[in-house]
């Protein structure tokens, strides 16, 4: 596989255009050294024999790649919902399943709604006074708000009968460190938040979720971004750096995939979290699908529907591993660091790595990928022309 050399600097090698008005400086970068290392190795062979008409006309390798992509591709696989296998298919199991539905919708669901309502009442009746009355005593107020946010998250988790097993040392608040985790659903945040009050960087959502984001999550310290705004990226990078360097801030949690993936694969990590000059503490989350498929397919469901689906399932069972903190090795670029950490998380949670940028869900791949193929074709033809 040839290493393709461009005339442009490596930072422009792979870009994803977010809007038609972007200039190259505000494009979302996703630098990677070698896309050829990741793509399937059925790429075009480059023999060194004399060029004949047959060789020029034979487009079968390119066509094979295209047809291969039509038949199956690693990107679409990442976002496929995989509901658990139905088991209610015979006369004995079907009534049992019906009974289960009755229990889940008739008994568990109302109970859970009750628990959640109770939790909200307790939370709001404590949070609002604390927030308003302790305005002057910031340190105490922050501590209490932190505890309260952890509390409401625990109520949320209880409302789906969440059984979460935490492995590894609990995160502590220290400056110059960031936490990164793989992303399956917005509940990842709640599952992690109930143990430690993280500050988080999130896409601003509409509706009631947005309301929660702008009120309660503000108190734990949150950074907002807007995926569709390219200039946003520089502002966000600056805010991240400021947060990490501050001594009094809650530990920062970032989901570097940038989008929800179906808990079988990981897509490429954005390098933003890895170039802050901080220690990166990886967290791996794996949901047990036997109970419910926790993947939030944002193309198919709203978050409310997703939550309701969770509240009418038996349980949400997952494992959370807090892994060993990593530092950038000397001579390592931010991208290499990101990929290394992705490897650590994927290995721990049993996920397969794919070489795609999660944002391709929302936009087309950049022409740079195609250009590297075109360049290697052109070079091969011109080289073989010289052969006798």
């Amino acid at each position: 596989m040839c290493y393709v050399v461009n005339n442009r600097p490596l930072s422009h090698h792979l870009n994803v255009k977010m809007s038609k008005l972007t200039t190259s400086s505000s494009e979302l970068d996703l630098d990677r050294p070698n896309i050829e290392d990741y793509l399937p190795s059925d790429s075009i062979q480059q023999p060194h024999t004399k060029l004949r008409l047959r060789d020029l006309l034979d487009i079968s390798p390119t066509l094979t790649e295209a047809a291969g992509a039509i038949v199956d591709d690693s990107f679409t696989r990442c976002f496929k919902s995989n509901p658990p296998e139905p088991w209610n298919w015979n006369i004995y199991l079907f009534p049992l399943w019906c009974l289960g539905v009755v229990v889940r919708y008739g008994i568990l669901f109302p109970l859970r709604v009750l628990v959640l309502t109770l939790g909200w009442i307790i939370f709001l009746s404590c949070y609002i006074p604390v927030h308003v009355l302790l305005k002057g005593h910031d340190k105490l107020r922050k501590r209490l708000e932190r505890v309260l946010v952890e509390l409401i998250c625990s109520f949320f988790v209880a409302s789906w009968t969440g059984v979460v097993k935490y492995h590894g040392p609990r995160p502590c608040a220290r400056p110059k460190q960031v936490f990164v985790a793989n992303h399956t659903s917005m509940i990842d945040f709640i599952v992690l938040e109930q143990m430690t009050a993280f500050a988080v960087i999130m896409q601003k959502h509409p509706g009631w979720v947005g309301l929660l984001q702008s009120t309660i999550l503000e108190s734990v310290g949150c950074i907002w971004f807007n995926r569709s705004e390219a200039k946003d990226r520089e502002i966000v990078a600056r805010k991240l750096r400021e947060h990490v360097e501050g001594t009094d801030n809650n530990p920062l949690l970032i989901f570097p995939e940038g989008t929800c993936v179906n808990n079988h694969y990981t897509v490429m990590f954005k390098k933003g979290a890895f170039e802050l000059g901080a220690t990166v503490c990886p967290i791996a989350i794996k949901y047990n699908k036997i109970f419910v498929d926790a993947f939030w397919n944002s193309r198919k469901q709203s978050f409310t529907t997703h939550l309701l689906q969770l509240m009418t399932s038996w349980a949400v069972v997952c494992d959370v591993w807090y892994l060993e903190p990593q530092n950038m090795k000397p001579g390592e670029t931010a991208i290499e660091f990101a990929e290394r950490v992705r490897g650590i998380i994927s290995a721990r949670a049993g996920l397969k790595m794919v070489p795609w940028d999660g944002y391709l869900k929302y936009s087309r791949p950049s022409p740079k990928h195609r250009e590297s193929k075109q360049q290697s074709f052109a070079e091969s033809v011109l080289r073989r022309l010289e052969e006798k």
Binding site: I59, R364, V381
Partner: protein, 175 residues
């Protein structure tokens, strides 16, 4: 997966199998149907160009636009027939016919010098000038006994391309 008739009946499968000359096994057809429904997100019964392009591996292929012309709007049966050319059991003439169709963009049964140049332009992008492509093509065509004004027919393509090294095979994953 969203389609109203997401399950194929045995009759449907056999019908499709007949259409593609039994090149695909029944399991492969079921697999292809699942894939078809996955790509056809709005359950229209065909896959639009936009939906094909949402597969990044397809979108970055230099010949994606040419192939899109051939696959855009195909229903499932024709989709399977298109893919059957990539079956290991497909005959060499069938494979070469597909290649011919990719070149023959105006469907007049003839591939001219200009047609070949356009495909080469797609494949080499901005890394070869038109002059360079023209020079290379004239040289190799002359060596093969053709000239700039020759039009190649399907039989010519078969004569040129038919050799054991031509492999155009895609495996359909069956779970």
């Amino acid at each position: 997966m969203g389609s109203a008739s997401s399950t194929l009946t045995q009759y449907d499968i056999e019908d499709v199998q007949e259409h593609c000359n039994n090149l695909f096994s029944q399991q492969e057809i079921v697999s292809l149907y699942k894939r078809f429904c996955q790509l056809d997100r709005t359950a229209k019964g065909f896959i639009s160009a936009d939906e094909f392009l949402s597969v990044p591996e397809f979108a970055v292929n230099p010949l994606s636009q040419r192939l899109l012309k051939m696959v855009d709007g195909l229903n499932f049966k024709d989709f399977v027939v298109f893919l059957s050319a990539f079956n290991p059991k497909a005959s060499m003439p069938q494979k070469i016919e597909l290649i011919f169709k990719v070149y023959d963009s105006d469907y007049n049964g003839k591939v001219t010098f200009k047609d070949i140049m356009e495909v080469l332009r797609d494949l080499s992008g901005s890394f070869m000038s038109d002059k360079q492509i023209e020079d290379v093509l004239i040289k190799v065509m002359q060596e093969a006994g053709y000239n700039k004004d020759s039009s190649l027919l399907l039989d010519d393509f078969v004569k040129i391309l038919d050799h054991p090294g031509l492999k155009m095979e895609v495996e359909v994953p069956v779970d």
